[in-house]
Symmetry: D2
Subunit: 398 residues, 4 copies
């Protein structure tokens, strides 16, 4: 069967991925929940092969790059269905931070870097990471960092300390954000540089224990140390001083991806909650779902999730049409609105499950623990609210 | 200038109404806020004339009926702009409950009733009301009522007690919901009957004091007593026993109208809040808007209002396409979601205004007091949540 | 029967007042709710006579002053029971702002002022008001005001603009806060001066329309204009420049009074809610109180009200023991905690009442409208939260 | 130094324990957070020795049993300070479920059982567990269970399936709740039986993975299978059919212990939040604590925690004075009030910490994940709210 035969419109792709995740994907998810990401890797790789056979691989990439050539709005719908399982995005090779690195390198990396690193990344043969946040500085102020890259001959010599570098464990390369012009304007100081993970002087200090779990491979967040790490000047991505600008450009679509993934999480949690509500008996014949409290939760979650999705898709449309600057306010809004909706939905889904909701029988516990970070990473709630609030109030000052 | 010259698309109508409300409308609003609806009537009637000249009269009616022939989705946008002022809907003759009565009679009243009562109603020459709720029975259970209409010769003889009959004071007629078949199925017992307000036996007991205000004319809620009120059988609207069905059909679009009006309220409150925030000084040079708490409120309100609007417009589209039954769940969702959003936005707008927010300087105080009812009338929050929750859970039971 | 016979401990006084309010007080409350404070005055004065006969008059005053000599903690319990009705405090002559003026004058007024004004005030023969807030300046910054008092001969000449002066309508005198030393330290600029309301140059511009109601007499908030108002230097309360200090001292116990009154409101609303829940049928035999949503509301309100009361009594004890400065943080905490608890309880009590909750059948609607101000006056929520937050964080900075 | 010399009043004990936890305890806590409970055991046992030397061992036990003989209210204060660290209760040998088993056996176990099992338990030489919850039945309905104990000769033969049996891993015995009279009244069916963990037929199926962590030893929750487990009739605790009654009696003080532990968690989280707020810079010189949002969080948390503590201590006093039945409503109230306060405080403390709050640098992440269960175990929020709500409404029905 060819791609054409299978139907390549978004709805068809979504259906095929939904069927995969609801079918063979469930067992892999259970392995991952019960024994961890690393031990599920063989099964995960098999699922990747199935995704390729289903012509659902890398929906965000161009067909010439092995992908489906989807627009941001189309990909958003795929991202939602993939978000239904913690294994979803990875099996379609559109997981963060690799997807962001692909987009970045596609537009801003040299031909040599693209050939050497982007091609195998798009093929799923290697993984990558993105080293930006530093423990010494508030992540909410992205222009404040200490990592330095100094030109020496034709090389950059990099020194610095990064953490929460997702997926560094086992990655082939990282893109590091480093100050190259400390005297420049705050937004013009930093540059992005590609550093192979095996470069001398680059140490993965530890996979940070997050919510009691170190994880491993793609499913981990590392602390990295750069000590006189030397890479060629040609490893630069974009111009010198363009680091912050590229990071912002990267974050726009990135937030849409995240938000749609969170909506997928919401929908899965909602399904689990409803199914549990109609099945679980409080006493013989009296199900949880007959309590009006539970009915109200179901109703409120439904309205909240639908509202969040409409908001995100609207932002995606605006972003697609007018670019990051036009959609800036909307992107701030969806970030905190969706992350908070997700936390509320997860909270109620767990409550309906009772003790079972704390176990590895569903992904609810994993999400409760690990998606707490959604209100922190890529800008905490408060930064987005402040940014949106100021932007609006500025218009009233005239 | 003809209608055509003025531009008759929704955006043009919205702009003209916005300009009217932001211009001469403000003074009338102030009169109404400071001295009450009744004493503002002369000014209100002048505004109605301006609305007619602006070709913005009765957007929901067909052009042959003197209106703009707008679809539900188009009207929704007009309803939002009119909602920005407590006088908005009335000056365009699309205020509840008259708009609902117009829709109802348009489809279900006899030619004679339409000529005698609908025509002047559409022209704004008379007003009407809708008598359904009874003090003795929970409004949340619409099939439970005591008012009876008994056939006697060619007449109905009606006995019963109604309250919260909006706008009965000064209305030319009411449509009353009365049980005609007490032994029938709960949903088939009641019939709608048109009763002129001057019919013997029909007494307006009082305008109920709501939030400390009795109001008057359109701006009032009456208690009515029906004692052997006799009207011809031909005054029936729809079939015998169809009362509940028609009430439901009426409520679908009615809830969209209300919700969009509430979003108009939200937007006005938001504007007032933002303007106050950038102007009010806490100390010389230090405005309220520089506090991050206020910035957060602005951001949260922006996201909430946008989410509500998208949800309502989506429901309106569905309703337009598939009818009330298809959009039933969505209509429940928008009712409680939007009413609660409005209360939150009003609360914060008042807080930003401080003591001024409690006065008649803005419509915020009026809305805080009188729109508290929005979470009660047309089905309290809890009824809609239960109804939506049950509808969803039913699908999981299969 | 003598005072002694009747029992003069707090519990006995509370019981007698509770019986009065639940008995004859209810009819007076209904008059007041349905026809307003002014038309209820004859009945209100009769109740005052009953209060005197019950030896429950002015619990906060010394026995030599005609009161019960209660401590702050004792009075707090009385204040709670009085708070159950909007007429409660007035009939015992411990209503704000008179109670605050009595306390202030007791400690800081000259013998002459006390004889001339305090004595009849304590006897309930005259009323008073307190003019502090100005429309031009944020009430949340109490040291920023424009009203000036200039010494001229042996007189102060006062010019300024005040509003939200509670009970000015019909009052015999006001205590006005005016700047006497504009070049002084911010906290040392203002002085309190007693001004008879009939002094030339003092105009009551209007009773401000608050939540749609102008009210009258004790139940009103006025806008006042001071134009070259001349009073003797001897009308000063306290020292020159001591105004802010005295206002702070006044606010400490004042906030305890308010908070306990709000808890009385909570308890009354709670009673009304519970009674309605067990009586109101949704369908024959099915009461509201059988819904677990309503049961949860009852439970949450119970816990919240109990928590608030414990917090307030603890603050009262601390204040009594150590004075305003020691209890400063606690007084901030109870202000916002209790006001927000009250709003939540009122919201739910209204929701359980449905449309009835919006009418004058209960005091719920009055409180919903007029106690919205509780989160604004005497310092808005945000000022108290900021003040408490800063005070705590300061201790961590060392 | 003797006990007497050290001071044995509550405040003194609290101070000594606070100093221990803030001193050497911190390093042990870090070991536990970073490498798990089991690998911290050697250090934990050393701390236990220090606790004994500080005369702070087993505050709930009688001096003749090696304890401090504290009343419930006194112990509550100790429980709060111990709650500040996840290792607190264990090092003083008053950790759940052992403390509950001690209380239960103290009053209801035979002399033989006490000598054989209670004595070493009180000494900290063995651990125990309590097997009640079953995966097949909602934990919120404690009278519905399938585990059966059948008399056969002088033995009970027990069959059943239990889970969330805390600390079963490594325990010497369990007390199991089993139905002995299936035809009896629901509250009279079950009996408590002591079963040594090495009894044939009793299998620890697994330590359940809770929030991604299996844990071990005291820090684990097991799934147990009883297959023809045979123990002597004399292993019964209390009478036949008294199981439910004893479980209820156990839960009263148990909930006070938990609630005070949660308040300890709140206080620690509060300290961590405040310290972080004054130290973390958003930009040079601009600390988090200067944001009014953070100041408001601090203020709200302070008020909420203080309110919760007052509520719990009040319930403890009532329980001590009048027993479980008298304090039943209060115990329901503190359970949901305190657990929800804790979740809110933890949420904000994490938010103030940013990414650091997700790591093992503080106990915040552990608590966020594992104390989510506090709103589920020992009766979910909804059960307590319903129970309290119904109890209150019943009084209004008369």
């Amino acid at each position: 069967m060819t791609k054409l035969d299978m139907g390549n419109d978004v709805d068809a792709v979504v259906s095929r991925l939904r069927a995969l995740l609801d079918g063979p994907g469930l067992a892999v998810e259970q392995t991952m929940l019960k024994t961890g990401w690393v031990s599920a890797l063989p099964q995960l790789h098999q699922l990747r092969e199935q995704v390729k056979r289903l012509h659902a691989w890398a929906p965000h990439l161009q067909p010439t790059e092995g992908g489906l050539g989807m627009s941001l709005v189309e990909f958003a719908k795929v991202s939602e269905v993939l978000g239904r399982s913690p294994i979803g995005h990875w099996i379609a090779n559109c997981q963060a931070p690799d997807i962001g690195n692909m987009e970045l390198m596609h537009s801003h990396a040299s031909h040599e870097l693209r050939t050497r690193w982007l091609t195998p990344l798009m093929a799923g043969d290697i993984r990558s990471c993105f080293a930006m946040t530093e423990p010494e500085h508030a992540g909410s102020n992205p222009v404040w960092m200490s990592t330095r890259a100094v030109l020496d001959g034709g090389d950059y010599v990099i020194n610095g300390h990064k953490w929460f570098t997702t997926g560094a464990d086992g990655a082939a390369f990282t893109i590091v954000m480093a100050v190259t012009d400390p005297a420049g304007l705050p937004h013009k100081r930093a540059t992005m540089i590609l550093v192979p993970m095996d470069t001398p002087g680059l140490t993965l200090v530890q996979n940070i224990q997050v919510m009691g779990e170190r994880g491993g491979d793609h499913h981990s967040h590392a602390e990295l140390l750069f000590e006189n790490v030397r890479v060629p000047y040609a490893n630069r991505i974009g111009h010198e001083g363009q680091g912050f600008e590229l990071a912002q450009a990267r974050l726009g679509p990135g937030r849409v991806h995240h938000c749609m993934r969170w909506i997928g999480i919401c929908e899965r949690a909602f399904d689990l909650m409803c199914r549990r509500a109609v099945q679980r008996e409080l006493s013989p014949g009296e199900t949880l779902g007959r309590r009006d409290t539970v009915q109200h939760w179901v109703a409120e979650c439904r309205a909240d999730i639908d509202a969040a999705r409409l908001l995100v898709l609207e932002a995606a449309r605006l972003l697609e049409k007018g670019g990051v600057m036009l959609a800036r306010d909307q992107i701030s809004a969806i970030k905190f609105f969706t992350a908070n909706t997700m936390q509320k939905v997860l909270d109620r889904a767990i409550q309906v499950h009772g003790a079972l909701g704390l176990t590895d029988a569903t992904p609810l516990a994993l999400w409760w623990a690990h998606e707490r970070g959604s209100r922190i990473y890529d800008g905490p709630d408060e930064v987005h609210k402040q940014s949106l609030g100021r932007s609006i109030l500025k218009r009233y000052m005239q």
